[in-house]
């Protein structure tokens, strides 16, 4: 490849990757150093420790509460998504029933439709049902995961031969037995994949919890992060006026909070990239 092409690729590498590097260096510096030092300078480990301590103890232990909330909502939603999606994908792929094709088409449509389009109708519904402000207003919608059903459907229809199941049935296995003792043991990779995608979708969701929670003690991290911006001096100097007792945060603290919020997903992205790409290709490029 010619020099020009490579230069363009490096330019875009900078665009995609420099913000990440900057983010991870920011908490090692003080706010003053962030302005005065080179953007790529490393501050010090003791500053990092101070930043970490300041953000974790900010406003009681808000961050830890949000972290716990995020975990409850995401793991609850993920568990429900997996429990619903794996049998459903199996049923769609390997059993016959009236309405099967219709269900498959609806699943595809809801999967492609932006999930955010349902947020306000869900808010109105949860409000009516009296579930607004409860963990169910988040766990139930997170558990409804048509993409997972589609992934499981593709997996079961391409990896498990129908003859195998037919043989088991002839041998007298019950429908449940066929699923439990043949399909599930073969489905471990897809359980992991559906679980991961459901987890990421729930963990990173902002709009739904933004709408469904109204109290600091209910926020997940994504919504909590937005609250932190309001306390960050350089973005909201009005809150910084002298004499107030509000603990003021600085840019390195906010960067540290972002790192804590993205850590779980980022770790999986880094170490399971190959699996993820396979999953994306299953979901998006199946022909």
């Amino acid at each position: 490849m010619r020099f020009g092409g490579l230069a363009i690729l490096l330019l875009f590498t900078a665009f995609f990757f420099v913000p990440m590097i900057w983010l991870f260096l920011a908490p090692t510096k003080t706010d003053g150093q962030l302005v005065s030092d080179s953007p790529f300078a490393f501050g010090s480990l003791s500053t990092l420790a101070h930043t970490f301590h300041r953000i974790v103890t900010y406003d009681g232990d808000s961050l830890l509460i949000w972290l716990k909330n995020s975990a409850i909502y995401s793991f609850g939603g993920t568990a429900l998504a997996v429990i619903a999606a794996i049998p459903a994908g199996y049923g769609l792929a390997l059993t016959q029933f009236i309405g099967r094709r219709l269900l498959l088409s609806i699943t595809l449509i809801v999967m492609i439709m932006p999930a955010t389009a349902l947020v306000l109708p869900l808010f109105l519904e949860m409000n009516k049902l009296g579930l607004y402000g409860t963990i169910w207003s988040l766990i139930l919608p997170f558990g409804f995961f048509p993409f997972g059903v589609y992934l499981a459907y593709i997996y079961f229809s391409s990896t498990i031969p129908k003859d195998l199941l037919a043989a088991a049935r002839i041998d007298g296995a019950t429908e449940w037995g066929v699923f439990r003792y043949i399909a599930v043991p073969l489905a471990r990779p897809i359980i992991g994949l559906v679980g991961f995608f459901a987890f990421v979708a729930s963990w990173n969701n902002f709009f739904l919890p933004f709408v469904m929670t109204y109290d600091n003690s209910q926020y997940p991290l994504q919504v909590g992060l937005q609250q932190l911006i309001g306390s960050t001096a350089s973005f909201n100097p009005a809150n910084y006026s002298a004499g107030t007792s509000i603990v003021v945060l600085h840019r390195p603290d906010l960067a540290m909070a972002v790192i804590i919020a993205i850590a779980p997903v980022l770790i999986v992205f880094l170490f399971a990239q190959r699996t993820l790409v396979t999953g994306m290709l299953t979901g998006a490029t199946k022909e």
């Binding site: 490849m1 092409g5 690729l9 875009f12 995609f16 990757f17 913000p19 990440m20 983010l23 302005v35 049998p87 459903a88 049923g91 059993t95 029933f97 009236i98 099967r100 094709r101 088409s105 595809l108 449509i109 809801v110 492609i112 439709m113 955010t116 389009a117 349902l118 947020v119 306000l120 109708p121 109105l124 519904e125 009516k128 593709i154 990896t159 129908k162 088991a168 007298g172 296995a173 429908e175 449940w176 043949i182 043991p185 990173n204 902002f206 994504q222 937005q226 309001g230 909201n236 906010l254 960067a255 972002v258 993205i262 997903v265 980022l266 992205f269 990239q273 290709l281 490029t285 199946k286």
Partner: protein, 314 residues
């Protein structure tokens, strides 16, 4: 493929299946099992679909149609709201910038990457893909930093453009391109990976034949590779369009950085719908507005499923 536990399970029940009519019935049903079993397996999912996919939409339709001024009053008052047109103008401007630049850049980058060696290409794809791990408020905050001329590693560019302070950068007129940059940063890598995968499906012989016929790299890219990934480009465009109409996180999070004065709480249509619901308690009008957005998303999805032939339904 091994099926370790299967024989152990089936052996105990063999005799039962062989007795009498049961065996005949089973054989008829064998290819797909019994119908009731199918219903059983999809039951929980169907319940969730009805409760969280269908019911909210039905209820929103009911709310939208039961406005105090008659059947269509919620829709007419939503459409005539002075904020309605500007919210749609905002996302229209955002989407034109985003979709045009994303389409051009993703295709250009993926074609360039495909000319590199497998290993070097993989390294680039990995670096482009990583920002996809950040979504929601996290990626917006990262870009708040990047747009802050005093701390940003891209500060020299911002200064060169004449922005010395954060509030210069996030001036209202700059918001559509800013949101386009954010969306491109988190989303482009995933599309590059997907399209690279599609390019790898092109038979090697085809590319070799083109080379022998005297086609240079540029001609091969334009005349052979591009047509073969065309449907993925269309897919990306359509999905991005549907997602773009829903814009909410970016303006909401950016708006909470108060220095960015001039970012209203109803910058995008979804924000406007939420504003009407939460500030005025006008659920009828909020439902009407959210249905407009829902129909946009639904139409795009239905179009892809029935006309696009991108997905395997059988």
């Amino acid at each position: 493929m091994s099926i370790p536990s299967a024989p152990a399970v089936t052996s105990g029940r063999k005799s039962a299946a062989r007795g009498g009519r049961a065996a005949g019935t089973r054989e008829q049903l064998a290819p797909g099992g019994s119908r009731s079993a199918g219903y059983f397996f999809v039951a929980l999912y169907v319940l969730l679909l009805l409760l969280l996919g269908v019911a909210p939409v039905v209820y929103a339709v009911y709310l939208a149609l039961s406005g105090s001024g008659g059947l269509t009053s919620s829709f007419t008052s939503a459409f005539s709201d002075f904020r309605f047109a500007s919210a749609f103008e905002h996302i229209l401007e955002f989407m034109v910038i985003w979709l045009v630049s994303q389409t051009f850049l993703v295709v250009a980058l993926v074609l360039m990457l495909h000319n590199l060696s497998q290993r070097v290409g993989a390294a680039f794809r990995f670096l482009f893909y990583i920002p996809g791990a950040l979504a929601g408020a996290a990626s917006v905050i990262v870009w708040l930093f990047m747009l802050d001329p005093t701390a940003s590693p891209f500060g020299f560019i911002l200064h060169w453009l004449g922005y010395a302070q954060f509030d210069n950068t996030v001036a209202p007129g700059n918001l559509p391109p800013i949101f386009a940059i954010m969306a491109f940063w988190t989303g482009a890598g995933g599309w590059i990976v997907v399209m690279y995968g599609a390019l790898n499906n092109i038979p090697h012989e085809l590319l070799e034949a083109a080379q022998i016929d005297g086609s240079n790299a540029f001609q091969t890219a334009m005349q052979i590779k591009l047509p073969l990934i065309r449907k993925w480009i269309v897919y990306m465009l359509v999905l991005s369009f549907a997602g773009g109409t829903q814009l909410f996180v970016e303006p909401t999070v950016l708006g909470s950085a108060a220095l960015g004065v001039g970012i209203s709480k109803y910058w995008s249509p979804n924000q406007l719908a939420w504003f009407i619901a939460s500030e005025y308690d006008n659920f009828n009008e909020a439902a009407a507005l959210s249905l407009v957005l829902l129909v946009l998303g639904l139409m795009v999805a239905a179009l892809l499923v029935w006309r696009g032939r991108l997905f395997e339904v059988e």
